[in-house]
Amino acid sequence: MSITKEAAADALRIAHEASERSAMLRGYQSTAPHLILWGCAYAAAYSYGYFVPQNAGLAWLVAVPITSVGDVIVAWRDKGEQTDSGDWTSMAGLFATFLAFITAAAAVFQPQDPKQMAAFVPLVVAACYTVLGLWLGRRMVFAGIAVGALTLFGFFALPAYFMLWMAAVGGGTLILTGLWLRQA
């Protein structure tokens, strides 16, 4: 069997494209359940924040740890026995960094209105999804841009209904995007 240079280049291109596509789809499959989980958290916590505004922060104090535990369970089921201590360290580090950044930013900016923090966190999340999407694939970029744009729209155009907007549209976008990634 002899292969020409052109055929070799073509075969390498085919192999590369298949490999890239496989990695992208695997990334989507891994990420999808996390988006759905956080979409449900958004829907629950923002709804609570709308109907019980005086305890809006409490909803997140409950939702974040529960959803984070859900993230760990999902990640463990995804990788199972292949999960090693490095993976857990990375996940814990990522979460700790995110929490530290949000806390530090709040301390620096001193938001006067709870809606500012309610908008700031999903904007940071949206930026993270968009950046992640540059490596994982376009669907994540779409998710990030969608959540960011909808957050800004709700904050500026619907201030009286912002929490409800985020529950329905923010949470809904994450859930629908998670389902969309799973279909890929």
Binding site: M1, A8, I14, A15, R21, E81
Partner: protein, 104 residues
């Protein structure tokens, strides 16, 4: 490797191997999902997976989930090595041969 791997070099088999090689060790992919990823037909994909299985480049696991049959495929260590060697061979074809030194 000085020769191509004829088992791997066929277009769909190359794509199957590249797809499986991108997964982590031990990761299995369902046949239906692989078919969807590669836009292949059942028969075509099945035939090529069999060829790769006979060469011990992939392993096929069959079980039942909620009474429905499920077929999953993973690359073997031998398959990973063979794929890597075949890619290395293809790359070597693209390298320009060294310019021979003039006799003194």
């Amino acid at each position: 490797m000085d020769t191509p791997d004829e088992v791997i070099h066929q277009s769909l088999r190359l794509r199957i191997m590249a797809t499986l090689n991108a997964l982590s060790d031990g990761d299995l992919i369902e046949f239906t999902r692989l078919r969807s990823v590669l836009s292949a037909t059942d028969g075509n994909l099945g035939a090529h997976v069999s060829t790769l299985e006979n060469a011990d480049y992939v392993r096929v696991e069959k079980d039942f989930v909620a009474k429905k049959p499920r077929t999953r495929i993973a690359i073997t260590n031998r398959g990973r090595t063979a794929f890597g060697q075949h890619v290395a061979y293809l790359r070597s074809l693209l390298e320009d041969p060294p310019i021979p030194r003039a006799a003194e």
